[in-house]
């Protein structure tokens, strides 16, 4: 075990600073208490494990009968000893009573969010997170920005199946259930970026349902959220495609690839060409072209992209399932514009392997959406 431990700590020491042999780095007000309970149980366990294994090995060696001896049966050993047995029933009873109490105490603290908590609405969907800040009118994805040293309460719901929001550094976790709200709270004690996982199995890309909690000091937090609130308004038309790629695409990434590989949904690569030409085939056998003629629903092809974002289960592309959740209410008009423009200019935004290009050249790009015409 100790050799294993040495291997383990060296590796983790590089990855997460401040972590111990058992528990990783912590960064919330409740974490020290939970770690305290963990280590308390640890000490009891070390003691009893060592005691029992020592007795086991001692007896096994002391009373070992060699095969050639063919075990002479002892009759002088006791068959029972009621006081001894009552003792070793009572001692564990007392210990687990103490452990229960500590665990309950820690849990009650976890379950009561302070009244002045900063609230964030969390929506989980296969396989991404959406974080809405009602105070700022800001929606974030893949990153949750929270203030340092202020209790934050997450009010969570799911738009499809069970998920579970888990931030190891804060020692908090709660399931996210469709059809009801659940909540958890934490108060971050160290600025920095912390991993957020989905902990409840939710299907195909469960292991990619990751996000980051970004803890900022109060003033930086205010500045950042204020900036996010105006972001899509302040941004120049010319920069909208890149904005969508950097800020919005991560909510699409688990299903729509950029390299042409089919995922849960069709790849974004070449999607605009397929849309423009109307070659997309739907599950009922009709093609996009059928809806594109004069007076058709998608006479303006950009409307097909818009409709797919807001009403995604209306037309289902052949060979794919109706799994995409709607983004109605989660995206502002200008953000939808940005998505359309991103798809129209995708070739300028990604390289041949489908990786986003930093500072792409968008000079002369078509930055008009059909909706604006």
């Amino acid at each position: 075990m100790s050799m294993l431990g040495m291997l383990a700590t060296t590796k983790l020491g590089e990855a997460t600073s401040g972590g111990g042999f058992w528990m990783p780095e912590s960064a919330s007000t409740v974490a020290p208490e939970i770690d305290g309970v963990f280590y308390f149980i640890n000490n009891i366990n070390y003691f009893f494990f060592a005691l029992c294994v020592a007795i086991l090995i001692w007896f096994a060696i002391r009373y070992h009968a060699k095969p050639s001896e063919h075990a002479t049966f002892t009759t002088d050993a006791p068959t029972h000893n009621t006081p001894l047995e009552l003792t070793w029933t009572a001692i564990p009873l007392l210990l687990v009573g103490v452990i229960f109490w500590l665990g309950m105490d820690g849990f009650l603290e976890l379950s009561e969010a302070p009244d002045d908590s900063y609230e964030v609405q969390v929506t989980a969907q296969k396989w991404s997170w959406t974080f809405q800040h009602p105070d700022f009118g800001v929606t974030e994805a893949a990153e949750l920005t929270v203030p340092l040293g202020r209790p934050v309460r997450l009010i969570m719901t799911s738009s499809d199946v069970l998920h579970s929001l888990f931030v190891p550094a804060f020692r908090v976790k709660n399931d996210v259930v469709p059809g009801r709200y659940t909540s958890l709270w934490f108060e971050a004690t160290k600025p920095g970026q912390y991993r957020l996982y989905c902990a409840e199995y939710c299907g195909k890309d469960h292991s990619k349902m990751l996000a980051v909690v970004n803890v900022l000091p109060e003033d930086e937090f205010q500045t950042r959220l204020g900036k996010l609130a105006r972001e899509y308004e302040d941004i120049a038309d010319q920069d909208l495609p890149e904005y969508a790629m950097v800020r919005l695409y991560n909510r699409c990434a688990s299903c729509h690839s950029l390299d042409g590989k089919s995922g849960t949904g069709p790849s974004f690569k070449g999607l605009w060409d397929r849309t423009k030409s109307g070659s997309t085939v739907f599950t009922d056998g009709s093609t996009l072209k059928d809806y594109m003629g004069p007076g058709g629903e998608f006479e303006v092809p950009e409307n097909y992209i818009r409709d797919s974002i807001l009403n995604p289960r209306h037309y289902i592309v052949q060979n794919y399932a109706a799994t995409m959740p709607t983004f109605k209410g989660q995206l502002k008009e200008r953000q939808i514009d940005a998505m359309v423009l991103m798809l129209k200019n995708l070739d300028r935004l990604i390289d041949e392997q489908g990786n986003p290009i930093e500072n792409p050249d968008l000079s002369g790009a078509d930055v008009s959406t059909g909706a604006q015409k």
Binding site: P24, A60, Y63, H64, K126, G179, A322
Partner: protein
């Protein structure tokens, strides 16, 4: 001359009748036990292969051999097969069927036809479960809603899988009923409840749980199938149902089911530690009562699977409190096993090594349960690898190792052949090292926050070292299991003939020949204190233990039996 000279009878249950039909239509509990054993071991191979796929995938953060869907199917089938087709039937249906009636000195179980029916029902259920492999079942063995009901989520195979689990549940109920009646009605004169071998106590407690809890699983899975097939809203919030209700129903069965798996293993360990220490079991009545206590408490703790599900904090506190009560009878058993070794004459044979290995692994499994019963720490550790490690220590390290230990213990009785001890001990050492490499590292993974059921994991989170060690350990275990298969098979063909009582056991199954005759006993077995080994002595001529000439054999004096 010896009274009970063990000779390999020419006519035993294996040779009594011949032909394929004489096996598949047999009413003999021993043959049914052997058929269960072969079926369970086949499923163990299949479930083990899925485990190796899962472990191999996790060698690298981005996943080595499978895509996300394939990985999800692999861990689902690993879990489903191991739980429903290996661990639950392993001890009661395979070993229990073989040993229970003989331990009672009976000719068969109370309802031999029901026994055969339950076996074939089990086979049909197993076929359904295996069919779901090809339908792409990816819900996890827990079938959590609404994922499992939503056509757009679960890949398929849900209905065949729940049908399979439903049928397997009924096979389990029938076996349980059969055992309860057999133990009540077929105990021989002189074998009072508190003179039964402890393995029978554990099988009895198990059977009670099987009969009471399994119907709830059946009903739950039937509701799930109806909801999925006809869109009736029970668990799906989109149809007005409640997904958390499913978890209550599911764990109301599946937590007691954990004890369906572990209790019989504890019974085997109670037998093995006593027999191979050649020493009277310590604290018989505490061990027997602890089995009953565990069976009762097991029904009251299901909510500890749901501390993070959003159930009310009050329920969390109550369930946490009751959960800790299960720790006590478990601890009592461990202390009693240790005390049984005190002043014994301990054989270091393969069976005893597995027995001692069980104690170590069960200690780790049980003690780590404390972190998970404690709400504050469970909130953090729930759905991480810590939980995976914990339940593998209890389900595999304990329940399955209990099964393997029992298989070694009764192998000479079942086959009439001795396996190679050196190979057995070598395989044990390999297993024990491999096991701890595989699963101890998963405690570390979990305590550092690695969520379970991930096909890929972040490369910079520091998880990979643990994953690699864990995978290497799993390969070592696989090698040890193949070694075990090899020496067991070799013993069938070239093994030394087993004496009636090669280890020095005192319970009744050691008083008939190895393998037992068709009707189990050719002469009346000696009922009495089944842990009083002082009436036995080693007999060099037969290579086993025999009744001492200077001690009266109660079987030859029926009146004495009636009055003890």
């Amino acid at each position: 001359m010896t009274i009970d000279r063990p000779t390999l009878a020419n006519d035993n249950y294996l040779t009594h009748t011949r032909g394929f039909l004489s096996w598949i239509l047999t009413l003999d509990h021993k043959r049914i036990g052997i058929m269960y054993l072969v079926s369970v071991l086949t499923c163990f191979l299949l479930g083990g292969l899925f485990a190796l796929l899962v472990r191999t995938q996790l060698l690298v953060p981005e996943g080595l051999i499978m895509d996300q869907d394939q990985y999800n199917q692999a861990f689902t089938l690993h879990g489903g097969i191991m739980v429903f087709l290996v661990i639950i039937p392993g001890i009661p249906a395979a070993l229990g069927n073989f040993v229970l009636p003989i331990m009672l000195g009976a000719k068969d179980v109370a309802f031999p036809r029901l026994n055969l029916f339950s076996y074939w029902l089990w086979i049909v259920g197993a076929v359904f479960l295996v069919i779901s492999i090809f339908a792409g079942l990816d819900t996890g063995w827990t079938f959590y809603t609404p994922y499992s009901i939503d056509d757009n989520s679960a890949m398929g195979g849900v209905i065949p899988a729940v049908t399979g689990a439903f049928l397997l549940g009924f096979a389990s109920i029938f076996t349980g009923m059969n055992f309860i009646v057999t133990i009540h009605r077929l105990r021989p004169d002189g074998m009072t409840w508190f003179r039964m071998p402890l393995f029978l106590w554990s099988l009895y407690a198990t059977a009670v749980i099987q009969v009471l809890a399994t119907p709830v699983l059946g009903i739950t899975l039937a509701l799930l199938a109806v909801e999925r097939a006809f869109g009736i809203g029970i668990f799906n919030p989109a149809l007005g149902g409640d997904p958390v209700l499913f978890q209550h129903f599911f764990w109301f069965y599946s937590h007691p089911a954990v004890y369906i798996m572990i209790l019989p293993a504890m019974g085997i360990i109670s037998e093995v530690i006593a027999v191979h220490s050649h020493r009277h079991i310590f604290g018989y009545s505490f061990i027997a009562w602890s089995s009953i206590a565990i069976a009762i408490f097991s029904f009251l703790v299901w909510g500890h699977h749901m501390f993070t599900s959003g159930q009310s904090p009050l329920m969390n506190v109550v369930f946490s409190f009751i959960t800790f009560s299960v720790a006590i009878p478990s601890a009592v058993k461990v202390f009693n096993w240790l005390a049984t070794m005190y002043k014994g004459a301990i054989s270091w044979n393969t069976t005893m090594l597995y027995g001692m290995g069980f104690i170590v692994l069960f200690l780790i499994g049980g003690l780590t349960g404390l972190y998970l019963g404690t709400i504050a720490t469970d909130i953090y550790l729930h759905d991480t690898y810590f939980v995976v490690a914990h339940f593998h220590y209890t389900m595999m390290g304990s329940a399955l190792i209990g099964f393997i230990c029992g298989l070694h213990h009764w192998w000479p009785k079942m086959t009439g052949k001795m396996f190679n001890e050196t190979a057995g001990r070598t395989a044990f050492v390999l297993f024990f090292i491999g096991y701890n490499l595989t699963f101890f590292t998963q405690f570390m993974l979990g305590s550092h926050g690695a969520p379970r059921r991930y096909a890929t994991y972040p490369a910079d989170a520091g998880f990979q070292t643990y994953q690699i060690i864990s995978t290497i350990g799993s390969y070592l275990m696989a090698i040890s299991f193949f070694m075990m298969a090899a020496y067991f098979l070799a013993s069938c063909f070239g093994g030394r003939r087993a004496a009636a009582n090669p280890w020095g056991g005192r319970s009744l199954e050691w008083q008939c020949s190895s393998p037992p005759p068709f009707d189990n006993f050719s002469e009346q077995p000696a009922v009495g204190d089944c842990y009083d080994f002082s009436v036995l002595r080693w007999d060099e001529a037969t290579g086993g233990y025999v009744w001492r000439e200077d001690v009266a054999h109660p079987g030859h004096d029926a009146e004495e039996v009636a009055h003890t």
